[in-house]
């Protein structure tokens, strides 16, 4: 009984949030890692691509909502998602054509491409705000909870409960799905191998008859789609605000690096490492321990390893520690 309570409280405050946040980071990290893996640069505009795609999705969602098109209990935004993806794919292909392709052909150093992506980031950042302004945008509709903590409490009669939001379930489901698909695509299909070959040695890829433009295009299509999916799911779960999409870039990069850049599996694991280290290490375990050992005298200690003030630091500390043990990330890129 008490053990069940201990587990529920742990699940509610640590497990479920970490898994959700981890999945959100993982989705973002997949896109970053893909661009790095194939095009060989760190794409700083990824966060803004997420934001841009989400913005388009929101605008379309509003149109749908006005004309009462809906897929209740799922959020309408999922219906609008393809259009957001389409817009972002178009944007990124255009950006590649106008900006990145030039440096690729000139065989510029990766840092130049990275700076160019910073430029794109600035441009998108300004553009998104010009369109929808810097404010908070709520676009979630549909059923918010699959089960709430109080429902669980009422049902089980326990003192603790666990709540699961529909957005959490959708996020986890979609990220697992996308991860598996991406992995299969990269490892098992000819196009996937061609992408890896291209990233390894471009001249030789051309000499083998690989269409490098097609490879680049596929990469952007995948990365942009991943970005928009990540952005929309994140926005559904929290809310859409351009500023946060810039801020979330840092943990996404951290996740990418911990896992090993260029490696999709690494991106996913990295996302969860970051989220767990933020949440599990800053959670005060007082109640959990008290459920398990009711008689213990904690003397006022709340059993918090690190204050939440330092949660960002703690995830970076974990990052540095992981890199110390495995200098190229958990899974080699």
């Amino acid at each position: 009984m008490e053990l069940a309570n201990a587990f529920l409280i742990f699940a509610n405050y640590v497990l479920v949030p970490s898994i959700t946040y981890g999945a959100q980071l993982a989705l973002g990290a997949l896109g970053v890692t893909l661009i790095f893996g194939v095009l060989r640069f760190s794409n700083f505009s990824h966060g803004e691509m997420m934001s841009f795609g989400t913005m388009v999705t929101i605008l379309v969602t509003w149109v749908f909502q006005k004309s009462s098109i809906s897929i209740y209990p799922l959020p309408t935004a999922l219906l609008a998602l393809p259009i957001g993806i389409l817009a972002t794919v178009c944007f990124s292909l255009a950006a590649d054509k106008i900006v990145y392709s030039y440096y690729r052909e000139a065989k510029a150093k990766p840092v130049i491409l990275m700076m160019a992506s910073l430029g794109i980031m600035f441009v998108l950042n300004g553009a998104v705000r010009l369109f929808v302004g810097p404010g908070d945008r709520q676009f979630f509709d549909g059923e918010r909870f699959i089960v709430t903590a109080s429902e669980v409490k009422a049902y089980t009669g326990l003192a603790e409960g666990v709540s699961i939001r529909s957005t959490q379930a959708i996020t986890v489901f979609i990220s697992i799905l996308l991860f598996v698909l991406l992995y299969l695509f990269l490892q098992k299909t000819r196009a996937g191998t061609a992408m890896r070959a291209y990233s390894d040695n471009r001249t030789l890829a051309t000499l083998s008859g690989i269409n490098s433009q097609a490879v680049v295009r596929i990469t952007w299509i995948l990365a942009a789609s991943l970005a928009v999916v990540a952005g929309v799911l994140y926005g559904l779960d929290k809310s859409f605000k351009p500023f946060t999409y810039f801020q979330i870039l840092l943990p996404i990069f951290a996740a990418t690096i911990v896992g090993g850049v260029g490696n999709p599996l690494g991106a996913v694991v990295g996302g969860f490492i970051i989220s767990f280290s933020e949440i599990a290490l800053t959670y005060p375990y007082r109640k959990v321990v008290l459920y398990i050992y009711p008689d213990i005298d904690l003397n006022g200690y709340i059993l918090q390893l690190v204050p939440t003030d330092y949660k960002f630091s703690i995830s970076f500390t974990i990052l540095v520690l992981v890199l110390l043990l495995r200098p190229s990330g958990l899974f080699r890129g």
Binding site: R190, T193, A194, R196, A197, S199, D200, N201, T203, L204, A205, T206, L207, S208, G209, I210, N211, S212
Partner: protein
């Protein structure tokens, strides 16, 4: 006009002029070998044939038609295979994937060709799952040639295929290359291992400072005293 080659090629790397009017060509079922001192422009000439180096003047032709307008990939699709001198493998892919990439353009099954390559270079068969970047120097070289063979091209360009390859394998390699003639493949090869290479050559070119210095059949060149002394190490 021959089947494949470049005539009167001028060009280089931006302002740096390397090729000064050199011409190289090959017929189906024949082997042309290019020799010359280091930095003569041999590799540059090969790259020019593939469109990897821009020509300021001169023509590259295939099957009687100029292919100057084609880009590298289109030339590859037209049936030209190339093994560069350096960076000639995908280091991050396994040996097996490297070979598969070699057969990327082929519509037919590549399994048979792969088996042939493994027969020619048994070590590649043993290391199918090893990352190519971790192969030894000579193994890399074998893989590079194997990758090009996978394309089953009409024209095969090889830039120093035997560099760093142990004598037994390199002898066999040259033997196999001369065998390819029977498949009507046209082969151009740069070699520093010139004696052996010229022995199987139908035409030999000695390139110096981006110009053809001597041209002749392989055995003829081997006999030429001056060529022997200045380029083949006496």
């Amino acid at each position: 006009m021959s089947f494949f080659g470049g005539s009167n090629m001028y060009g280089g790397y931006g302002p740096i002029k390397i090729l000064n009017g050199c011409s190289i060509s090959v017929e189906p079922g024949e082997v042309s070998v290019i020799v010359g001192p280091n930095g003569a422009g041999k590799s540059t000439a090969m790259k020019a044939l593939l469109g990897l180096v821009e020509l300021t003047s001169g023509d590259v032709f295939l099957d009687g038609k100029s292919i100057d307008a084609l880009n590298t990939r289109q030339r590859v699709m037209a049936g030209i295979g190339f093994v560069p001198q350096t960076e000639n493998i995908f280091p991050g892919l396994t040996v097996d994937e490297n070979l598969s990439m070699g057969g990327y353009l082929r519509a037919d099954s590549v399994a048979d060709t792969k088996q042939e390559v493994f027969k020619l270079f048994p070590v590649l068969g043993d290391r199918r799952k090893q990352l190519a970047g971790t192969l030894s120097g000579g193994q890399r070289q074998q893989l590079a040639v194997g990758r090009a063979l996978m394309t089953n091209p009409q024209v095969l360009l090889l830039d120093e295929p035997t560099a760093g390859v142990s004598p037994n394998v390199s002898a066999q390699l040259l033997y196999e290359i001369s065998n390819l003639k029977t498949r009507d493949m046209a082969i151009i090869m740069v070699e520093q291992n010139a004696r052996q290479a010229l022995e199987i050559a139908d035409t030999g070119y000695v390139l110096v400072m981006g110009e053809n210095k001597f041209t002749g059949s392989g055995p003829d060149l081997l006999k030429d005293r001056e060529v022997k002394k200045t380029f083949l190490g006496g």
